[in-house]
């Protein structure tokens, strides 16, 4: 193993890791927004919203994320959507993970006993108040761990944007392999950095989950 090489190139990998972190955070935020909207649509009183929600979920879970990215980044200009690679990466991955998060959030909400809604409605709370003050606070606790699983998948999924030339961890590894012919070291380096990011995120999620249980 070429330790000298690793010591020489690792600062560039740290920069790339920062890009991966930014991608992950923005994607997670967009994903949570899409997931919340998706879950609201899936649980709507109105059939049309339920259908839209269901179509969103099956479309984005039913096709490879890579194809979705390609359609957005390479196909987008044809229909007037001009995005740089990073933007396309965030939007493509965010909307994709949002479909999974839709199901996570919806699952947590419907897991709350109907009696909770009934008791609050009986007191005179509106549908929204009952959701806001009684159901969602309980569902939020239930969804921390499964959303953590979605976020774990999302972080690993950011590797896909190497295919549209975003200079993140995977792309950077590929680039240095091109000039050094040392794939083992380069992938090991980026793999290690992925692991650190994922481990730290996992600890954060576990901490949140523990806190939510205590209060």
């Amino acid at each position: 193993m070429d330790v000298d090489l690793i010591l020489r190139v690792y600062p560039f990998f740290l920069q790339a890791a920062w890009v991966t972190i930014q991608l992950s955070v923005l994607t997670a935020v967009l994903g949570l927004a899409c997931g919340s909207l998706g879950a609201a649509a899936r649980l709507s009183r109105l059939r049309i919203f339920r259908i839209i929600g269901a179509v969103y979920v099956s479309l984005f879970r039913g096709t490879p994320a890579l194809i979705q990215l390609f359609i957005l980044y390479f196909g987008g200009p044809q229909i007037g959507i001009q995005l740089d690679a990073f933007e396309a990466g965030v939007i493509g991955l965010g909307v994709n993970i949002g479909a999974y998060m839709t199901e996570t959030i919806r699952g947590a909400i419907i897991a709350i006993d109907r009696g909770q809604t009934e008791a609050s409605r009986t007191l005179g709370l509106s549908r929204w108040q009952s959701m806001r003050y009684v159901v969602l606070p309980q569902a939020a606790r239930l969804m921390i761990r499964p959303l953590g699983v979605n976020i774990n998948a999302l972080i690993k999924g950011t590797a896909l944007v190497a295919a549209i030339s975003v200079v993140e961890l995977t792309y950077t590894a590929q680039r240095y392999i091109g000039s050094t012919y040392k794939p083992f070291e380069m992938f090991l380096l980026s793999g290690t950095l992925y692991m650190i990011i994922i481990y730290a995120t996992g600890r954060g999620i576990a901490w949140l989950d523990r806190r939510a249980r205590i209060t």
Binding site: R121, Q129, V134
Partner: protein, 257 residues
């Protein structure tokens, strides 16, 4: 104002799909009256109670509370506003308590008054303390529901309903999920409400309690009111054969327990 009784149910019918659960039910409850509903499992007692506050809206018929029709046919938005309003006047106590587990006892009680009656935190707190004192649970005010026994949970659920100052209280087998030794503390609270002349409709399996507390008893079977009358008649000298059979069976199983 219509000339309706305090609580009045007229020609109530209810189907779930093709299953007819209530047929032509009529009931008048005057202010301060206490009515017990008894009958075998599946006879439609819960459905009737849940129809009164629109949890399970009737298929046909009318429900009135103090001259206001509860189950008005209205466009969606108006209907929602209407039920949110009338439900504030109807307290309901469930078999499984349905306390909010993420809130303390205090918060369980103050949630609705704060949101719906615009009470300040101070006013709501005072109200919570007053209601808890009434059910004898002041010391549990900052406990979470998971820290309470079943009997305590149900007393908090009653306090929560009372905090909205309802005009009528509905009890759906409030003691059925309790261990036998915890039944009495809940019954005592209900008896106290009776002494304060709270209007109550009580679905129960406890014939002794119904007899001692209620002004009138309805026996339901197969979605109809088979027989109704004062407790001493229904329990001591029922006319209908189905009522007799039910009471015979019920008293027997109670003895065998």
């Amino acid at each position: 104002m219509t000339d309706t009784a305090f609580v009045e149910i007229r020609n109530a019918a209810k189907s779930f799909g093709s299953l007819q659960v209530l047929r032509d039910i009529n009931l008048k409850v005057e202010r301060g009256q206490i009515v017990a509903i008894i009958g075998p499992s599946g006879s439609g007692k819960s459905t009737l109670l849940r129809a009164i506050n629109e949890l399970d809206p009737l298929s046909s018929g009318e429900i009135w509370l103090e001259g206001v029709q509860i189950n008005k046919k209205l466009p969606h938005r108006q209907y929602e506003r209407h039920v949110n309003q009338v439900r504030q006047d109807i307290g309901m106590v469930f078999q499984h308590f349905n306390l909010f587990p993420h809130l303390t006892v205090r918060e369980n009680i103050t949630l609705a008054p704060k949101l719906l009656k615009g009470m300040s935190a101070g006013e709501a707190n005072a109200l919570a303390e007053q209601q808890l004192a009434k059910v004898g649970l002041m010391e549990k005010i900052d406990a979470y529901p998971s820290q309470l026994s079943g009997g305590q949970k149900q007393r908090v659920a009653i306090a929560r309903a009372l905090a909205m100052k309802p005009k009528v209280m509905l009890f759906d087998e409030a003691t059925s999920a309790l261990d036998p030794e915890l039944v009495e503390e809940v019954n005592l609270v209900m008896k106290q409400l009776a002494e304060e002349h709270m209007t109550m409709i009580i679905v129960t399996h406890e014939m002794g309690f119904a007899e001692s507390v209620c002004d009138r008893v309805l026996f339901m079977d197969g979605g109809v009111v088979v027989e109704e009358g004062p407790p001493e008649v229904i329990f001591r000298n029922p006319e209908n054969e189905r009522t007799r059979a039910f009471l015979r069976k019920h008293l027997q199983t109670n003895h065998n327990r």
